[in-house]
Amino acid sequence: MSKENNVIAPGGGITPGPHRIHPAYVVMAALQALVGIIIAIAAGLLGSLGEIMNQGLGGTDIVVIVAITGAVLVLGLAITLTAAYIYYKRFTWEITESDIIIRSGLFFKKQVHVPFQRVQSIDFSASIIQRIIGIVKLKIDTAGGSTNRGVLIPGIKLAEAEALRAEVFRRKKISEITQDEAMQQKMQEARAQMGEGTAIATSAAVPLNAADKLVDDVGSEIGGLRGVFADNYYEEAPVEYEHGLKAKELVLSALSGDHNLVIFAALVGLATQVPQLAGFLGLDGMLETAVESVLRSSVVPLIIGIIVFVFLITLVLGILNSALSYGGFKARRRGGRIEVERGLLSRQSRGVAIPRVQSVQISQGFIRRIMGYAELKLLTIDSMTAEESQQGTQQLQSGLVIHPFVKLDRVDSILAGIIPEFDQRPQPAEYKTLPKVAFRRVVNRHTILTALPYAAFALIATLLLSNLPIPAQIEDFIVWIIGALWGILVLIIIGRTIGSILWYKNAAYSYNKTMLLIRQGFYGRITTIIPRNKIQWAQTKQNPIQKMSNVANIVAVTAAGVSGTKTSLRDLDAEEASAYLDWIRPHGNRVIRETKEEGI
């Protein structure tokens, strides 16, 4: 068993036997650790800076510091290099007839087998350094859930990764056909045992094509049927639809993040207060010199200048970030799968099989809504690798963005191209809105419940401040603070009331024979479309106050994410909520079809 042999077999495919990861992994892991060590050392030195400044630095001190720093660096590097090298030495991956095997670990030897049938997708990602070397990180995604973990190969040549992916999917296909074959055989036997009475069942069973049938052992199949399967499976499946991202969309998507609005508002608010703040800072009449007046005339423009500068920097960074993560964006439909590639410096390639898609989300932040643009996302069943679960679930990106910034009138055509399975979704004319009482309730919880506690706080603060013995110099300042306190209350009331009105207008739902649609949001809006057969369970919820107003919440739960995703809407008419549950009940969707047909 040579570990150093060629990974890609001469005729294509993967050579048998265990394979190592790319040796560059050792250097990169060590580099990564080195950065951490340097940061730690720098922090340590900074921490003792105060002491150094107090006592001064003698010649020996410098020697000691340099020696310790050097020792820590060398030791740290040696340890991480050794660890990375051992990891490299012990880590192998192998493809057998039925599964992928990953072996790792020095003391605790670990061997993970992933059967091909369990493999859902194989995704690549590469950092900038990895791209220069030409290697990728490969993630094998399995059936999902917390017990079915995915596996990771931390460094492998791109060509090898592609060969591995093609090979795994080809073998998966073959094992599925073999299974079909076995099933057919079992059914035949069962029928033979049961005798004549099952003639109908026999005719209903669809015989397999002759080409698919001749599967004796997988090994010979891989050699013999390569062409047949390669033609219509995975990599070679024709691209049915593809879209990219224009440069204009890339820039606009960065500018339309709602955080820009918040930063801008905060900066404008600050800028309008600058003259006054400058006044309070004791620049008034305390130093009546020429220097003072020069200072005063230049402080205000200076601060405003800094504020504008900060804002521009955030914008530029935002554009840069968006260009880096979504540059070269491509989403395509290929047979039963959707593939998305993105990233300028570090590149990602993710794929998902259609049955894994649980829902479609069209989301718009506030600015995007005004501009008429949206982000399109598929929520899918995810699985974590052991490494990811160690890092915590926060980092796990949920869902697959199929377009980060699309004009609303293009949404239909893109969805039709990428995922025509969702063509049956309810159309805007069918959307139902909430009863009037829902508006009163959103004002209560969103506006009043926030404004009241804040008003109480402002009142107490005002009383306290106006009854304190306050030196005359800062009296103006106190008055200004009290004014600001009540000003914020007015802003809260106005902002939250607008939010409540928008929420009521945004809230909508609809369901037809096959799909549920829920739309909601305050300033932005998120539309979620869930196929009825992806809803794992459903519920309605009602608290005593809602009962008085005869409204209830509805919830639909899908298997998206690692442990399920809830989508809910508040304050439907209680009868409507109950009708939704009836729709979820098996065959409940027929009622809709029938009543509709009667209506026509």
Partner: protein, 172 residues
């Protein structure tokens, strides 16, 4: 609007709920009260005025917490289990499980049997002492538990749902 489901949990489940509520309240109260009470006790011998003031404050806090604990005991151990039992009802239909429960939030849950992935029954020591078991159905998006059924009933339900889930199909 559909009528509520008919089947009730075994009445003995309220005992289980009461016991677990009792343990919870006592453990949490002990964590909150004991340090304060012990500090107060340790400071008592010190006769200086400042310390005695502190002791008084600590004692007041201890008494207040004890009152809170008593209220919680009545609420969680006596009242809530009763209400929870009254609210709980369920039904296993041929193609779906229907659950109604909740003290403040009244929840009505529908689990279509075609979505059921596995079913099992569980029994903790307290449940066993009361001759009860709980029945759990798992879907691809989380589990639902019907607690407090007689052991045979839970087993019967489990087998029944397992069979129903296998044959449940839907022509969409």
């Amino acid at each position: 609007m559909r009528a509520l489901p008919n089947r009730k949990l075994d009445k003995r489940i309220t005992r289980v709920w009461r016991l677990s509520a009792l343990i919870n309240v006592i453990v949490w109260s002990a964590i909150a009260i004991l340090p304060i009470a012990i500090t107060s006790f340790a400071l008592k011998p010190d006769r200086s005025a400042g310390v005695q003031d502190a002791v008084v404050v600590l004692d007041i806090i201890t008494i207040a917490l004890l009152i809170v604990m008593a209220v919680l005991l009545v609420l969680c151990v006596v009242i809530l289990p009763k209400i929870r039992w009254i609210q709980w009802s369920f039904e296993v239909h041929e193609e779906e499980i229907d659950i109604h429960k909740g003290i403040f939030w009244k929840k009505r849950i529908i689990i279509p049997l075609i979505r059921v992935q596995n079913v099992d029954t569980k029994q903790g020591p307290v449940m066993r002492a009361n001759g009860l078991a709980s029945f759990t159905v798992a879907t691809a998006a989380g589990e639902h538990e019907i607690p407090g059924l007689e052991v045979e009933e839970a087993d019967k339900l489990r087998d029944q749902v397992a069979v129903l889930a296998r044959i449940a199909q839907e022509d969409v």
